[in-house]
């Protein structure tokens, strides 16, 4: 049991703080237009990769740093604390990259991993479909085997950053035999292939970071199957568990920066001459938001341990995911309630700040949906942790 950073973790922290002090990244000053923002995010990831802060724990032979898993967690927390923007290739780094490392061939890893790390090639994921959301195993996108390749047809949705992606990890049905989740495979689709069509979807925040993806007889070479045919479900579950298990620590740091920010803004603003922060009810609400974030941190520390020691992310990643969504939604709603009428005052110099809190609140509603809904996480716990009976 050890909470304090080791000497090497501490020197890594200091090194990153030096890097961040020189770079001064600021998620708030990113360009507004999506195209320009993507360019800036790519450049930022590339600078961080050059500095050794991306794929720190990924194997050296594929361009990673070959370091212990704990180091990447230290790095991600430092970046979040500094308010740095997210990496452009978040899907490649958190979702498909780990799957390639775990299930891919050496050839696939050599081909794809270095470009994921350097943000040379952006990845997206083609998992959900309009009629296969929580019930992912009911997906209908098909990959038919024809000669030396597969031909894929179907429709995918919630494809983050699809419009910028070079590659997509697509879950498609390759067999109807046996249980339905056994007939699913994961294929690596070149987004430049004929038959690929994207339609951006505008989210409730006004941004369009998601796309619908239409696949119409898209030809995929056989060597682009990830793992074995029929491994798709297993890979997707591994991937989503990984995403849930490791995202929480940097996420809680980001939530903490937001909490500090709402405290600061509440101390600056008044309603009818009364400082917002002096309201005892507001103070208690902020304390509850703080407790939610801190307990997320404590729980993620305990459950991430196995992963850091080289093991897999277990079913407890579902409890982390539930706490993460709860903490984010509580914080966002608390900010909305505490800042209250001041969000409507329309002071010119407060427009950006107000927009941030509205956007944070709106997007927080997604937290109990993406990466497996709250209800799916509870099902996972009921099945895999509590072993409760089925029908």
């Amino acid at each position: 049991m050890r909470l304090a950073a080791t000497d090497s973790e501490r020197s890594l922290q200091e090194e990153i703080r030096g890097f961040l002090a020189a770079e001064r990244p600021d998620a708030r000053s990113m360009p507004r237009s999506l195209e320009n923002r993507m360019d800036a995010l790519r450049a930022w990831q590339a600078r961080c990769y050059d500095a050794g802060y991306v794929g720190r724990a990924w194997p050296r032979e594929f361009g990673g740093g070959g370091g212990p898993a704990a180091e990447q967690i230290v790095i991600d927390q430092e970046l979040a604390a500094a308010g740095a923007p997210e990496f452009a290739n978040v899907v490649g780094l958190d979702v498909l990259g780990p799957s390639l490392l775990r299930f891919g061939t050496d050839e696939q890893r050599r081909r794809y991993i270095p470009a994921i790390l350097a943000a040379d090639e952006i990845w997206c994921q083609g998992f959900s479909e309009p009629d296969a959301g929580s019930d992912l195993a009911s997906l209908r996108t098909r990959a038919e085997e024809r000669d030396e390749h597969f031909v894929i047809s179907g429709q995918k949705t919630w494809v983050s950053w699809g419009q910028f992606a070079r590659w997509c990890g697509v879950l498609a049905r390759t067999s109807d035999a046996g249980p339905r989740h056994r007939g699913i495979s994961m294929l690596i689709v070149d987004m430049r292939s004929p038959g690929v069509e994207l339609r951006p979807m505008t989210q409730i925040t006004g941004h369009a970071e998601f796309c619908e993806l239409f696949l119409d007889d898209v030809v995929v070479p056989k060597e682009n199957v990830l793992g074995e045919l029929g491994d798709g479900w297993k890979i997707a579950m591994h991937t989503l568990g990984h995403e849930r298990g490791t995202a929480a620590l940097p996420r809680q740091v980001k939530l903490r920066t937001w909490l500090d920010r709402v405290v600061r803004v509440a101390a600056e603003r008044t309603i009818d001459g009364e400082s917002l922060i002096d309201d005892p009810e507001a103070q208690v609400a902020l304390a509850r938001a703080l407790i939610g974030i801190e307990v997320l941190r404590h729980h993620a520390y305990r459950t991430v341990g196995e992963f850091v020691r080289g093991g897999a992310v277990g079913a407890d990643s579902s409890s982390v995911k539930l706490l993460m969504a709860e903490a984010e939604q509580r914080l966002a709603a608390t900010a909305l309630e505490i800042l209250g009428a001041t969000l409507q005052h329309g002071e010119p110099d407060a427009v950006d700040e107000n927009e941030f809190w509205y956007e944070t609140y709106l997007y927080s509603r997604a937290a109990t949906v993406y990466g497996g809904t709250q209800q799916i996480q509870r099902n996972i716990i009921a099945d895999r942790v509590l072993a409760l009976p089925h029908e």
């Binding site: 049991m1 103070q283 941190r297 520390y301 020691r309 409890s319 099902n379 942790v385 409760l388």
Partner: protein, 345 residues
């Protein structure tokens, strides 16, 4: 960063569990705990906050009626001073009629006397006061609150049982009239340490009791049949039990983290313990409510054990500051953290 228990800690936890399971009637649990070394607090090979919390969790799971919390908390708090209480059991006398758990301005007061000092005042909710050798009394000294150690059988000490929610944690009103103080009164830092470790031990016990309720509720949900199905197959109950699991698992994470912070002398150990206590205070009771819902009507009968665990959970919730107490303090601290910056603008 590593919250994994060491082999020794796992062994300790399992040993205490075995010790308690072997004695379901609790005939000689206290003696067994003392023999086992559950009071051997100390840095060099002794028990730290994490180990004490592991023991407290087991006691909560088995609803052991022993004066462990006070005895362990006192030893942990005075450990830096090197005070030794041998095998004596101790009870904490913090609360007073009309006071809260902040313990900042007690009416009970200590006065100098020929042989050291005497303490006078009334304390409430002194748990297990009838079965301990020592009372650790928070009293007003000349320069702020101090901790006075009084022999429970000393002249001027009168115990009166008071109604208690949990009969396995009996409570006493203690009247002190110029009761002689045994050692030099201990300073405010010791009181802070008692409140911090006390909050964690209370939370750990509640986690133990809540964990037992989840186990039993899951077992019951797997056997009980209604509408031709085991009730654990109904999604409404599966999700309720999953939520209970999350509350319980995260509660334990928080207690463990805060205990480790205390053992490592982290700067924010007191604040982290307050966060854990605030969280567990609500979460453990939520688990108990959920379990009673799973058990259904039978859990509202006196013969069913659910209410006994609920009672222990509520008692631990109210000691050393409940959720509202800590949330108010944490909120005030957050607000204060923003003020210097606001003023400088």
């Amino acid at each position: 960063m590593d919250l994994e228990l060491s082999d020794e800690q796992t062994w300790l936890s399992e040993s205490v569990e075995t010790l308690l399971a072997r004695d379901p009637e609790h005939r000689r649990v206290w003696a067994s705990l003392v023999e086992f070394g559950a009071l051997s607090v100390g840095r060099d090979g002794g028990l730290g906050a994490v180990e004490l919390c592991l023991i407290a969790r087991a006691l909560g799971k088995h609803l052991a009626p022993v004066p462990y919390l006070g005895s362990a908390a006192l030893r942990f708090a005075v450990e830096p001073l090197g005070a030794d209480f041998g095998e004596d059991a101790a009870a904490l006398a913090v609360l007073e009629p009309g006071s809260g758990w902040a313990a900042t301005s007690p009416r009970t007061a200590i006065e100098p006397a020929a042989n050291g000092g005497v303490v006078t005042g009334r304390k409430a909710a002194v748990e297990h006061a009838d079965s301990v050798e020592r009372l650790a009394v928070v009293a007003a000294g000349a320069r702020g609150p101090v901790l006075a150690i009084v022999e429970s059988g000393a002249p001027g000490v009168a115990l009166a049982p008071q109604p208690a929610l949990d009969p396995t944690a009996p409570m006493y009103v203690v009247d002190l009239v110029e009761a002689p103080v045994q050692t030099d009164p201990l300073g405010g830092e010791t009181i802070d340490r008692i409140m911090t470790i006390g909050a964690l031990l209370a939370a750990a016990e509640a986690v133990g009791a809540a964990g037992r309720l989840i186990e039993d509720a899951c077992g019951y949900a797997g056997e009980r049949r209604q509408f031709g199905r085991t009730i654990g197959s109904f999604q409404a109950l599966r999700h309720l039990l999953a939520d209970m699991y999350v509350r319980h698992a995260s509660s334990w994470s928080s207690v463990l983290y805060a205990a480790a912070a205390l053992d490592e002398d982290a700067d924010d150990a007191g604040r982290t313990a307050a966060i854990a206590k605030a969280y567990v205070s609500r979460a453990a009771r939520e688990v108990a409510h959920g379990a009673m819902q799973v058990f259904g009507g039978i859990a509202v009968t006196a013969e069913h054990p659910a209410h006994r665990f609920l009672r222990r959970i509520v008692v631990r919730e109210q000691q050393f500051g409940d959720a509202a107490h800590h949330e108010r303090a944490l909120g005030r601290a957050l607000a204060a953290s923003a003020i210097p910056e606001a003023v400088s603008r």
